[in-house]
Symmetry: C2
Subunit: 204 residues, 2 copies
């Protein structure tokens, strides 16, 4: 399907707790997609395989990659660096393979600025849509707590505007179906089928 | 899903013989879509119901609608006028209903110029993609016949560039699934879910 053209990059993102990981694992079972692989400085566990679960590297190499702008984004958790290497994703795309990347919200926007044709999908929990009215409706939280939650919701909303698709993750199965629909329709976009048009024009 | 916003307009088009009618009928069985209704000056048959199969009208009324630019497109076949009235479609859209419209290629472009947010889907037969190489590969047609076919293919290609999606109609079931995917993903587009964003912003 993707002969003679770049693959598509699907970026699954959204607030933590939205069930993104589950949904991506389900997609990988049936869809022809390459999963982006993260780099980390944490020590490999016995079951880890380098280049499959993670790219394992020492801190010196990781910092060198930061300096050379080789990550879409990176962060430190528990004393270890984690990052999303650009080259692995870009290589798969140039091979014509479609890639899926699960990443937190700010990282997704950095991917978009590096790969403008990336398809950004915001997976949000059902509860988030109702957050505002629910918070106001119940009296269990202080005005200050509500204010903080609303501020965070306001941040999320600004991010949503930069996304291509919004999927409410109510039931996992429904969400997976919606994501499959997005993948299928992106593949059917005329702009992603210029090879068909080119083929015609080349022959005429 | 479409509360407080306009419906989506899906325009199914492509060369005749691509199986558009079959595919649209299948879609209507399961999808929440309103089918656009054509107007005609032909006499109703016993089984016809006005406002269901067609809007039946006399030639004077039809010509009046032409003069008042009330058709997306119209044509005459077998001594009768046929046309696609704009108002019926626009009314359904403003009610928040998604509408599907099956129309020939030039008509689709006229719809797009009247409703720029219309989603244009080019359904093409598998044979068309191979038309060029097949024509050249076989020796049964004269150079002049091949030239004519290629000219027509060239016209089709120019139209394809204006479309949002290209679907190769190989098997009807697969095509219906692809169209459902397009409908589902268009409904999930962030631009078509501004109400979710607005709702948030209104509450904050």
């Amino acid at each position: 399907m993707n002969n003679n053209k770049n693959g598509l990059l699907f970026v699954i993102s959204g607030p933590s707790g939205a069930g993104k990981g589950t949904v991506v694992n389900e997609l990988l079972k049936t869809e022809e997609l390459e999963l982006s692989i993260s780099a980390t400085t944490r020590k490999p566990r016995p079951e880890d395989r380098d280049g499959i679960n993670y790219f394992f590297m020492d801190e010196e190499k990781f910092k060198g990659m930061i300096e050379n702008d080789q990550f879409f984004e990176y962060a430190m958790f528990g004393g270890n660096y984690y990052g999303t290497p650009k080259q692995y994703v870009l290589d798969r795309l140039s091979e014509g393979k479609d890639v899926i990347l699960e990443i937190e919200v700010q990282g997704a926007l950095q991917v978009k600025s590096a790969v403008p044709e990336a398809v950004l999908i915001f997976v949000m929990p059902q509860t988030l849509t109702e957050l505002g009215s629910r918070l106001k409706g119940r009296a269990t939280e202080s005005a200050e707590q509500i204010e903080k939650r609303m501020e965070r919701a306001a941040e999320e909303v600004e991010y949503i505007s930069a996304y291509d698709y919004i999927v409410i993750n109510d039931k996992v199965d429904d969400t997976v179906e919606k994501l499959k629909a997005i993948i299928s329709s992106e593949r059917a976009k005329a702009i992603n089928n210029r090879n068909i048009i080119k083929k015609f024009k080349g022959e005429i």
